[in-house]
């Protein structure tokens, strides 16, 4: 089951466009593209878990929070520059994912609920930490190292790395093993696929992606507080974009982010009225087209191809 080559071309095209946008001066457009890149990375993390292992990482926002606050603490308390503290933040998120490793033993909905509760616990712990470390509700200011252009290119690199990683996984033994575990867990185990090992790999990659998002986002706006690190809007977007676009494919989350971020950015001015519609949209999309847009389009193409083949009498 090889994924068609065009995917790689599309990925390259996206990376080139994002790099190009980085060259224009700081403006509304570059801010939009920064958040597009951010949500593409976050969606790919979600995709690796939900799309490939079937585990709903409802608490992914927790890793984002960890990433943000490690940068905040590193910069303010230890005087490390933000770009240097990003790897530490990613490492921190990975360490947290190791600590949460027992969660992977939970099945289905238990995992979703427990990981969500853990995310709530993470922000509670951060709010409980001494004010000198986290800046309290006021937050910390990173203005002395404010550099949106550098941060933009860092985010774009993160996007490139995550897209290529997921592309490689999709076409590798790992992707196949993960899909097998999702579709037929017992059969997969029987033919020697170690479920915990593969799920752990997806979980670690997911946490690294989310940690990077948090860290780079904190640096980009040069300001971190409880609300930038943990709010319902972030959580909603992180769930909605990949689900709309389609999980289990490389491009689904990208398409979801590209289509819906402009909508969500535009809708922000209508605040709650917009949220009413957006929340209902999530409910409707999950019900009507649970696999999302890209797989639905792929199905259309595949069935057309099959139809053509059957008409021309080609034996498959």
């Amino acid at each position: 089951m090889r994924f068609p080559r065009p995917t790689l071309l599309v990925i390259l095209l996206i990376i080139v466009i994002f790099l190009g946008i980085g060259l224009i001066p700081f403006s509304e457009t570059s801010v939009l593209f920064f958040y597009l890149a951010l949500y593409i990375v976050a969606s790919q993390g979600f995709n690796l878990m939900y799309g490939y292992t079937g585990y709903l990482p409802f608490g992914n926002l927790g890793f984002f929070t960890v990433g943000q606050y490690i940068v905040a603490i590193m910069v303010v308390s230890y005087g490390i520059s933000p770009p240097a503290s990003i790897p530490i933040a990613i490492l921190g998120a990975v360490v947290v994912s190791f600590v949460l490793y027992p969660l992977l033993r939970l099945h289905g909905i238990y995992f979703g609920l427990a990981s969500f509760l853990v995310a709530e616990a993470i922000i509670a712990v951060i709010e409980w930490l001494p004010l000198g470390l986290t800046g309290g509700p006021v937050g910390v200011n990173l203005l002395h190292s404010y550099n949106p252009t550098f941060a933009y290119f860092t985010m774009t690199s993160a996007m490139a790395i995550s897209l290529v990683t997921v592309y490689l996984i999709h076409n590798s033994h790992l992707g196949l093993a993960l899909t097998a575990l999702k579709e037929k867990p017992k059969v997969a185990e029987m033919i020697g696929i170690n479920p915990t090992r593969y799920k752990l790999m997806a979980w670690i990659l997911n946490s690294a992606m989310l940690g990077a998002c948090g860290a780079i986002a904190g640096w980009y706006v040069a300001y971190i507080n409880y609300d930038t690190a943990y709010n319902t809007n972030l959580l909603l977007n992180m769930l909605i974009f990949p689900v709309f676009g389609g999980v289990g494919t490389v491009l689904g989350p990208v398409v979801g982010s590209l289509l819906y971020i402009p909508i969500s950015t535009w809708g922000a001015q209508y605040a709650n009225y917009f949220l009413i519609g957006f929340g209902l949209a999530l409910a409707v999309v999950v019900t009507v087209s649970p696999r999302g847009l890209v797989p639905a389009i792929e199905d259309v193409f595949r069935s057309r191809k099959l139809l053509k083949e059957s008409k021309s009498g080609v034996n498959r």
């Binding site: 939900y50 079937g54 509670a124 605040a271 999950v286 019900t287």
Partner: protein, 296 residues
């Protein structure tokens, strides 16, 4: 430590646990029968709370009198949602749990935003003065509202258990929880039972909101998440589809929470709940009552 304080903590934990049990009961039967994770449970609770506030402001009903109307109102909403929207379609998905968790997270967001718009983000409560402020037993003072709320919960639980274990419909509900296919094969109308269960579940959530006003606490859209989380911690510990386990787990969580807050920093209560949840599913994944069930 002062023993009176400890006893008081235990009593309060027990009393609030009764309230948790009722809220969780609704989520539990909805999950058990429909395999739907109603992540908007807390939002429906807040909606119920606002309805009770509305009844009090417009018709002068006190929180006790508004309990049944609130139940009826939310149950009606449940019937409408079931018959007119996507809810039944979610049940027939290959992975109804994750889909419904996502879908109802969307519903929760919408509902919360709608309540913000409708109420102007207002914090509302009912200014209700109970006939007596508090009851003192052996030198321990217990607020009347808490006793009242617990009594309401206890009566509701009793009625629900009678319904579940002594009526034909209750039998149908239990049969579906045990095995949908076998229930369907023996002629139980799964669709109709699901509708009733969904209505009761939402009704109980709404009644929970009315009970919150009885405590004299404020109702606001921002508290909905916290109740959703409590409901799910409780039902996961109770075994997800086991209403009896949910009631026991509700009281357990109430006790655990109040003892925790007495001894440790109260800011970290969600950490404590996460630890409890993970410990509980690791030790007793089938729920505290550990009813072994065969894999289908």
């Amino acid at each position: 430590m002062d023993p009176t304080l400890l006893i008081e903590t235990l009593i309060y934990g027990f009393l609030i646990g009764g309230f948790y049990a009722i809220v969780a009961f609704g989520a539990s039967i909805i999950y058990g029968v429909m395999k739907i994770v109603n992540f908007a449970h807390g939002s429906f609770l807040v909606l119920g709370g606002y309805f009770a506030v509305f009844l009090s402001a417009s018709y002068g009903l006190n929180p006790f009198e508004s309990l049944l109307p609130t139940f009826a109102f939310l149950a009606l909403i449940g019937v409408v949602l079931y018959t007119c929207t996507f809810v039944p379609r979610l049940m027939n998905k290959e992975d109804p749990e994750s889909s419904s968790l996502l879908a109802f997270f969307g519903v929760a967001t919408s509902l919360e935003a709608a309540l913000f718009v409708l109420t102007g983000a207002g914090y509302s409560s009912i200014a209700y003065t109970p006939p007596i402020q508090s009851v003192t037993v052996f030198g321990i003072r217990i607020a009347f509202a808490w006793i009242a709320a617990f009594s309401v919960s206890a009566v509701t639980a009793a009625v629900l258990f009678l319904y579940l274990f002594r009526t034909r419909q209750g039998l149908h509900i239990r049969a579906i929880i045990d095995s949908v296919n076998e229930a369907r094969a023996s002629g139980i109308d799964v669709n109709r039972t699901s509708m009733i269960v969904f209505a009761i579940g939402l009704g109980l959530a709404g009644m929970g909101g009315a009970i919150v006003t009885l405590y004299g606490e404020v109702i606001s859209p921002s508290i909905s998440f916290q109740y959703t989380l409590i409901a799910f911690v409780v039902i996961v510990i109770g075994g997800l589809d086991d209403p009896v386990g949910a009631v026991l787990a509700g009281i357990l969580v109430g006790l655990y929470q109040s003892i925790y807050v007495l001894l440790f920093p109260p800011e970290l209560v969600s950490l404590a709940l996460a630890v409890l949840l993970i410990a509980s599913v690791s030790i007793r994944p089938e729920g505290i009552l550990r009813r072994r069930r065969q894999e289908q």
